[in-house]
Every structure is written in C-alpha cells, then in structure tokens.
Amino acid sequence: MKTINVNGERGTRSEVYALCVFLFSLFFSPSFFLAQDAPPPTLDPKVFEIAYQLRCPVCTAQSVGDSASPIAVEMRNVIQEQLGQGKSEKEILAFFQERYGDWILLNPPKRGLYLFAWLLPLVVALTGIGFLAMYLRRWTKRAKVPVEASDEDLERVREEMKWQG
C-alpha cells in the first residue's frame, strides 16, 4: 500500500520530473525527427519508393508519397496490394499510367517529346563546356604571343617582382 508523506510526495514529483525530462529529450532526439520522414509501419517502404514516382492528382507539386489527400492514401494502398500480388514496380506504374496517362509520372518517359526534357540539360551542359573550351583556347593562344618590351620595362618588372618576394 502506498503511503502519502513528504518523502512520498517528493518521490512522485521526481517521477513527474523524470517523465518530463524523458519526453523532452525524446522530442530533441534525432530519432524523433527521423521518424517524421519514415513511412507508417503499416506500409512497406517499397510502396513509398513507387509512390514518390507518381504525381498526386489533386495536389500541386506533390507526389503520391508526400500527400495526405484521400486519393493519395488510396493510391498507396493500391500499390501495397499490388506489391503483395507480386507485381513489379514497372507493372504498378503502368497501372496508374493506363488510367491517368503519362501525366501521372513525375519522371517523364524516355520517348517522343519527353526526350527533350531529358536531353536539354545534357545539351546545355555540353554547349557550356564547348564555350569554356573555346575561350580557354583563345586565352592560352593570346598568352603565347610574344610581347615586345624595352630593357627599361623589363627592369621595372624585375623590380616589381623583387617587391613581391
């Protein structure tokens, strides 16, 4: 039987403090924050791997994996079920593509006009490298051209170099 006395009260209070400290430290522990990004335990992480590749139909700039909208939740359940039926990632993506079209895929398919989206960054990067190479060649060519200098000028350069150590 528990008796209530001064010591007992202290003990109860310290238990509350301990609980507060525990909850406080839990809040600031890295695992608390990491848990925010982790998928709910009821769904396989593979579900989210696929869901992140699908555009949420009722949201703006959110994937099915990120959205809490009812349709996104339902789509994640469908993915889970289809994985359970042994369907591959490709087959599951094709299931949604058949209904929503290519629009549903966050990574556009590598065909037709969509190739433009994939190739444009490469073309821009190659053009940039080409320009850089051209300018570098010009600069090195300029550096190779001999510069005429009088003895006086050369002396001044030597003096300057002495100053700079």
Partner: protein, 182 residues
Amino acid sequence: MKRLIMVVAVVAVLGGLFYFGLTRTNTGRSDIPTARLNQPAKDFELPVFARYQGDYGPTFKLSDYIGKQPLIINFWASWCVPCRTEMPMLENASRNYRNQVLFLGIQYNDTEGAGNDFLDEFNVTYPNVRDDVNGRSLVAIDYALFGLPETFFIRTDGTILHKQSGAVTEALLEQKIGELLQ
C-alpha cells in the same frame, strides 16, 4: 553589335520565361488529356443510396447497364461548391432525357449523411451510389479523378466519349447528349 543582339535575345527569352512563370495560373485539370478517352469505361459495383434501392437494388453494377443506353456518370461531394452549382442542371437534363440517357451520381470522399442531405436539397431523382466499399474508394482511381466534380459521358457501347473536369454547363450537356444519342 552582334554581341548586343545575342545578349538582348537571351534576356528576352529569360524574361519571357519569367513572365510566363509569374502569370500562369495553377495547373488547369481540364487541359490534362484523359488517358481513357474512347476506351471502355471501367466496370464497378457500388452501394446504392437507400432511396434508389427500390429501382436499382442494393448495388449498382455498371456492366449491367452498358449496351442499353448511353450513360452520364457524375462524381460529386456535398462539400464541393461547383458540384452544387451543376446539380440542378444535371437533374433537369436527367428529367428531359429520362428514357434515353441514364444518369448516375457517384458520391466521393464524403459521408452518407451529408450525401443524403445533398440529394434532398436538390431533389435528385436519378440513381446515386457511393464510392465507398469497406472504406475504400477505388472507382475514383479507375476513373483517374483529378478533382470534383467530374462528369463522364459514356456511349451505349461503353466507351468514354468525353470527360468534363469541373462543373458542366447546360450548353455542354446538350451538346454531349446530342453526340451520345447520334
């Protein structure tokens, strides 16, 4: 001079893109092509609101009605403002074409009680079902719903003639029903 023209051209292109980005509106769902257009409408079997069960039974199976007449399927919810706007038009059209076109309402992402109030408010006479089978709403995915309301115009052979994202208008209803009855 050549360099100046190039700089002006680049600035003009970037400025144009910037202006486009600033002024464009949110993604319009109606401009997204429907993958299922001219494809057979996916079959479903959904629970019928109690008030229509006398004529249609406890569940409505789409394939039972394909081949008999064209169908107009409207997805709605009681909380959806455009759904309220279009409901009188749909009800009116369903009365005008009672024996020629079958109208079907599908309540999505809503409660049965709120749905009943909505059907009372607009005195909806055509059958309505709930996309809710054991808490799951799979028909919305089969019909690639982007939002509410959405209306599907289905030919007698079961293929989808048109999908309307957003509220219908009387003119659109007349035009599409005309096409369905051709």
